[in-house]
Every structure is written in C-alpha cells, then in structure tokens.
Symmetry: none
Subunit: 232 residues, 4 copies
DNA sequence: TATGAATGAGGATTCATTCAT
DNA sequence: GATGAATGAATCCTCATTCAT
C-alpha cells in the first residue's frame, strides 16, 4: 500500500528561485493581507485566495512575489518577528530605585508576553514548529532572548551591579522572565480567561521583583511576600 | 434573478450517526492512530484517510466510532488530558528537608512540562484554542492547575506551613511553577534545542527552590544564588 | 464526558465564493453539460464529477461558475424555464374560424406539454419540489400559467368575445388546458408509451375544442362528440 | 477517457435471487419503514441505514428480505400501487341523476389525484421513471387507468348509456378525468399552493360535469358555464 | 436467522498552483 | 507585471453492501 501520497511536503520550498515581483510597496501590501489571514486562521487554515483577496491583489501577483504559501508564511513571520517584536522591548526605563526599574521591566515583559502580536506569533510558530523550525529560532532570538539579554546586560552594569550578587546574569534574567509569566502567560497562550487588569499585572510585577531581589540583592533585609488585594 | 440560492439541507435532522461503533479495543486502536497523526501534523494538517491508514481501519470504521474529525480530535485530546496528564504529577515525594521536598517537586514539574505528551498537547491545543476552547480548559485543569493545586495544598500543611510565610498559597505555587519553567519550557514548546541533562534540570530545580525559599521561608539566612557548572 | 462535540465552523463567514467565473461561453458550456446530466439522472442522481466531465471542464471550474450543486441545478432550471419555455407558446395563431384558432392553440399546448424539454423540467422539478420550491413557482409562471393567461386574454378579446359566454376566463382557459392533456400528458410525464402521431394529436385537439365550445359558445348547434379513427 | 465508471447500474437487480427472509410480518415491517423514508426523501435521498433504523431491523435483515435498495424500492412502490391505490376509486356511487353520479365521480377523482399517497407515488415514480420503467406501468394500471376504465364501463351501462352519446367511451372517460384535473392537479403535483376547499373542489367537479354533459348528453338544452363564487 | 461492525468507492467541495491573456 | 480562470489532487464524509458472530 505505497498508494496515496501521505502529506504535502510543506518545506520543499528551499529554493528561493523566481519571485519576480519587485515593488516593495506591493510586497508590503501582500504581507499585510497575509498577516491578517494567517493570524486569524493559522497556516493550514489560511488560503491563498483569501490572502490575495484581503491584500487586494490577484493570486498571480501573490505568486510573483512569493514562490509558495510556505515562503509567504515564513516571510510574514520573519517580518513580524524581526520588525515588530524587538520594538516591544528595546531598553530599560530607569526608575528611582533598582526595584522601581525592575518593576518597569516586569510590566514591560508582561505586556510583551500578553500582546496580541506576541500571542499570535507564539500560536502559529508553535503549531508549525515541526514544519518550519527556522521560524522558532528567529522568534526566540528577537523576542524572549532579546529581552533577557537586555536585562542580563543591565544586571551587570553599574550602578545596579554594585548592589546585586548575580553569578550567572543570563540565568538570573531568565528566572526574572519566568517569574513575570506567573499565572498569566500560560493561560493567555491557550486563550483562557485571564486577569489582565493593571492592578493584577502590577501585583505580579511587584511579586516578581520582590522574589528576585530577595535572592539576588547583595544585602538589606529580606522582604516578605506580597498578597493580591483586588480592590487595592 | 428570482430566487435566493436554495440550500439543500433537506433532511439534516436525521441524526444518522451517533457513532455506532462499540468495541473498546477498536476505539482505542483508532485513538492510537489519531494520536500519532494529530501529534505530528496538528488538527488541520491531519487527514482522516491518514488516520485510518495509520490505525489500520477503514475510513468507514473511523466514522462508525467518531462522528467527525472534530469529535475524534476532541476525544483524543480529552483522553490524553484526562487519563495520562494527571498521572504525571500526582503527589509530592517528601524529602529529608523542606528544600529537598521542593526540589523533588521542581524536578517532577520540569519533567511534566518537558514530557513529549505534555508538549504535544500544548502544541495542538494552543494551535486550535480558538476552535476548541473546551480543550484548553480541560488541559489546564488536568495539567498545570492540578500541579499547582497540589503544591498550594502542601504549602499550607504542617510541618512545612510552620516554616513558611505564604499569604497566598495559590499564587506562591504558581510562582514556583513559573520558576521551574526557567530557560527550558518556552524553548521546548517551540521545539528549539534545549539542555535537558539531569545536571541542568537539577540546577534549574535547585535554583527555583532557593529563590522561592528566600522569599517564602519564615526565617533563616538568605541563601546566595546558584551558578551552573556544566561539568559538575 | 465533558464537552459537547464542538463544531468546526471556524470561519464560515468568509464568503470565499460568489462564483468568480465570468466567461458567458464557458458558463453556457457548463449549463449544457448540467442539462444533459440533470435531465438524465435528476438532482440527487447527478454528480458534479459527471457534469464536469460531460461539460468538458474541471471540477474546479464548475465551482468557479456555480457555488454549489444546488446553485447549478437552480441556474439550469431557471434558465430553461425562463428562456426556453415561454418561446414554446407565445401567441395565438388566428385561424379562419374561432374553432380553427382554438385548434391551433390546442395543438400548440399539446406540443408544449409533450416536448422533451417540458417533460424533463416537469420530472426534475416534481421530484425536487420539496427541496427547491422556488423552481416550481418559476416553472409554473413561465409554462402553464403563461399559456392559460394568453388564452384567457384571447377569450375576452373581440371578435371571439362576441361569440362566447365566458364568465370566468381564467378557469375556462384552465379547463381547455386540462382538456388538451387528455390521454397524453399524464402518460408522457411517466415516460409511458404514448401515441403522439399527428393524427392522434389532431383528434385530441379537435375533441378538446368541440367539448369546450359546446359549453362556452354563446349560440349555435351543439356538436356531437368525435371518435378517433387511427387510419384517418 | 473511458476512465471512471459513470453511474451505478441501478437496474442491474434483475435476478430475484437470494432474499432468504421468510417472515411476512417482518417483510411488512420493513416495507413500512421503507415507505416512510422513500416517501420523504425519494429513491436517491433515502439510505438503507435510515430505512433499517426506521423499520426497527438491522441492515443485515434488510438484505435478507430484499436483495438491494432497488429491489426494496420496487417492492415498496408495487405494494402501495397494488394494494392501496385501487382502494381509492373502486366503484361509482350512484346519485339521483346522471349529473349527480358524475359529480360523485368527479369529486372522488379529485380526491384520488390530490391524496398524499397518490402525489407521493407520482413524485417518486416520475423522478425514477427512466430507471424503473416498470413502476410507472404498474402505477398507471392501478391508478388512472383503473379509474377511467370504471368510468368508461359505467358510461356504456344502462341507464346512463340511454341518455348519452359516447362513440369512444375510453376517450370520453379520459376527457372527464382530464377535466377533473383542472387547476388543481398540476399545481398539487408541484407542491404549489392549491385551493382544496370543498367549495372549490365542488365547483371544479360541477364544471367538469357540465362541460362533459354538454357534449356527451344525447339531448336537452345546453347548460351555461358555471362561475366560482368563493363565499357561496 | 438476525445482527451491526467493517469496508471502500464515490459524493460534494476546497485550494495551491499554473498560465494564457 | 498583473490578472484570475482553469486545474485536479486532496479533503471530509456517506452509504450500499458484505460477513463474522
């Protein structure tokens, strides 16, 4: 029974080949349409006709700019990932104290993690991770890794480096990043209802900072854990 | 242009199906095939023909046991989620000290999070969360929520409750759960290469415990952060 | 058994279709193929593959021109009904006498009723009347109703109105129409063998006229009934 | 392109063959289920599973009693046609006058023609006339032909034969039968709305009688045409 | 004999891709 | 370069029929 061809070879699009289209404006127009459709329906659920219609071009033009659905999908993910993700966490807003600065970071991370763009990219990349492994790498490098790198670098810079005891800044940054995901991130990724009120985000952020500093701050009294009071 | 295009519903109210298949063995056989295909290709990418072939039954038999692809998918997810996930984190192995016990928990959580079953469920549920929101709920209840509930309950039980200051056990458990995901979980979800050596997992586990206890332990000296030494 | 079987509607609100095909020639070509297959096998018995093969186009093209089998079926019936049926009985050919004129009408009606087109439409419309009630309306309006309307109008126009006593012209026309169906129409509808020789049609037509005028003619001697002599 | 087998050979069921079932009760039970399903969905639209379920037997039993769907369909039509149709017009109820008697006949014919059974048989037989030509013959013989035969015989029997001048009784009966279909029968066959109030049926019946007798009655004055007054 | 699970060809429909205009 | 009609393989699902129990 070597009969029916089992699955379409999604990733045979290795040859960058033809793609004769040249107008950057039209290319961008197509990518915008692709973004809307892929974001809503995922890779398998999106159809090239839909994308063409949404982008306002013909299917022929689509194929002039992108050799295949797979290539278009990758281009879309790469573009979002490279151009939009990094903008969401570029630098650390310094606060009055180190704790203040870290709270800014924590809130920024939570916002990054729960942003529609990030969640959508997470969703489509996770679901196509086996088919397009490159996309996961790019996403990781431009999203989580960039954020933790910035934080790790900050941890080792004066003046905060004076106050901290951080033997492995990368790992410490990743712990902080993990703490910022408490309760919210996993649920958001599965589109389960989540409390994203500013008060709750603030609580999560301050809790993350407190737990982090209780370990990584060089001296000073241990801070007791926080508790969430919804109305506060 | 007289008529609206008439829709040939005709007699949908037949309820011809209701899955007449009854043999539990064959049902299990089908679910096994479905597991392989859904796990590899996701919901949209899997075809009923493929599943039938893989399960060693005809397409007709598939539909004798499951009314539609959606129903089969849900049955598969529900079964994995209800029957296999809870087995992966049932109880807390007590150690000599509270830190030992928490290290056992941390290792168990990391293993749960990085298990192929859990990752696969995560992947397909995330990618179909919009279509099948119930599945996310079930997964959450049987996986992460169960784990954190068990941990939260343990935190409030003597003797460890004597030694801890945990105003919000659920949140504390979720912070611990988040800490256990440091570095590993996000990468694993995207099928990126990940260091899952026992040594590294041990390091992550002990780091989580240390950070956790530095905040939630009622008294005692602050423990300095750990550093990973790969060769150790 | 948690969840209700989720229905994967997902995104039916796409309106991906709307029949993009535009070439009238190809549309006509498809309708011709559809005519042959629907006429022979009826709605349920016809398959889109067959129609595509017969029309000499691919299945995809079929769906570029018609959104579904139901739409194609309706288009086919509507076209036949609107464009071809009315041509078969447009006006009344006046004869030397009123009886002559009515005989022309009768023969035209019998030909209409027994024409392959009319019989085919009758057959498929009757068998799908419950599913596509609009088609029956359209057929009736363009076929029988048009014919009886024309006749009813003629009955009330001078000079024949002078000679006739017709209190209810519509009903009178329908009686005449019914008389023209004597012996032939019912059998033809069931594809039973039928004597459609000109001589027999002539006999039926003249019998209808005679019976009709014996009641509706204002004065003059009653005409005795006719008898059919096959050899004549 | 002698490629795909175009249509299933519906009528290959010539060999009466196996059909090992023997219990007449079970056979009747199956036919009752078949009646309901075929009546509602037609031949193509009915499924053997549906029929089995509706009849309360297994599919295996179905095939023990009837070799195929085609055979079952024919058996169902034959049974209805032979056993139920003739009961609907068995004899002529004599009235005080010949006109009275004919009015009884006319009303009985109209009721026969518009009865659900007759319309259903008409529908399914017409739609499958090409596939099962035998059924049309049987239906005709047991329905319209029987009715017109009885009437033709009555026309030639004393005392009415004395009063009538009927050179071709069969044809005369068929004209009467045709007149009884005025306005109602064609519409009913297409499931178009039809006035079946007793008053209207009465009007149609009396009109048919009047028109008939104005030609076929041996003597007496011409009766003027009737007009329908709904409220009367 | 009665059952109903199993079969697999065939149904309507979709969609990535090509190519003549 | 842009278009969109045409293609046909692949999709989910149905159903007449068979056959082991």
């Amino acid at each position: 029974m070597a009969a029916t061809p089992p699955f379409p070879d999604k990733d045979k699009a290795q040859v960058p080949s033809a793609a004769t289209g040249t107008s950057p404006a039209k290319r961008a127009q197509i990518l915008e349409g692709a973004a809307r459709i892929f974001a809503e329906h995922g890779y398998e659920g999106a159809s090239m006709s839909c994308i063409a219609r949404d982008a306002g071009v013909s299917k022929g033009t689509l194929y002039n700019y992108f050799d295949s659905k797979a290539v278009l999908f990758c281009a879309f993910i790469e573009q979002c990932t490279r151009e939009k993700l990094p903008l969401m966490f570029r630098r650390i807003d310094e606060g009055a104290t180190m704790a203040d600065s870290l709270e800014h970071v924590a809130r920024a991370l939570i916002e990054l993690i729960t942003s529609p763009l990030s969640l959508m990219l997470n969703r489509v990349i996770v679901s196509e991770a086996a088919t397009f492994p490159e996309l996961a790498k790019t996403f990781w490098a431009n999203g989580p890794q960039q954020a933790t790198s910035i934080l790790a670098a900050w941890l080792t810079r004066a003046p905060q480096s004076e106050l901290l005891d951080v033997p492995d800044p990368t790992f410490a940054a990743e712990q902080f990043y993990a703490l910022c995901q408490t309760h919210i991130a996993g649920r958001a990724r599965m589109q389960l209802p989540v409390d994203t009120s500013p008060a709750y985000i603030d609580f999560v952020a301050r809790s993350a900072v407190r737990v982090f500093l209780n370990t990584y701050q060089r001296s000073g009294p241990r801070q007791p854990p926080l508790a969430y009071v919804p109305d506060a």
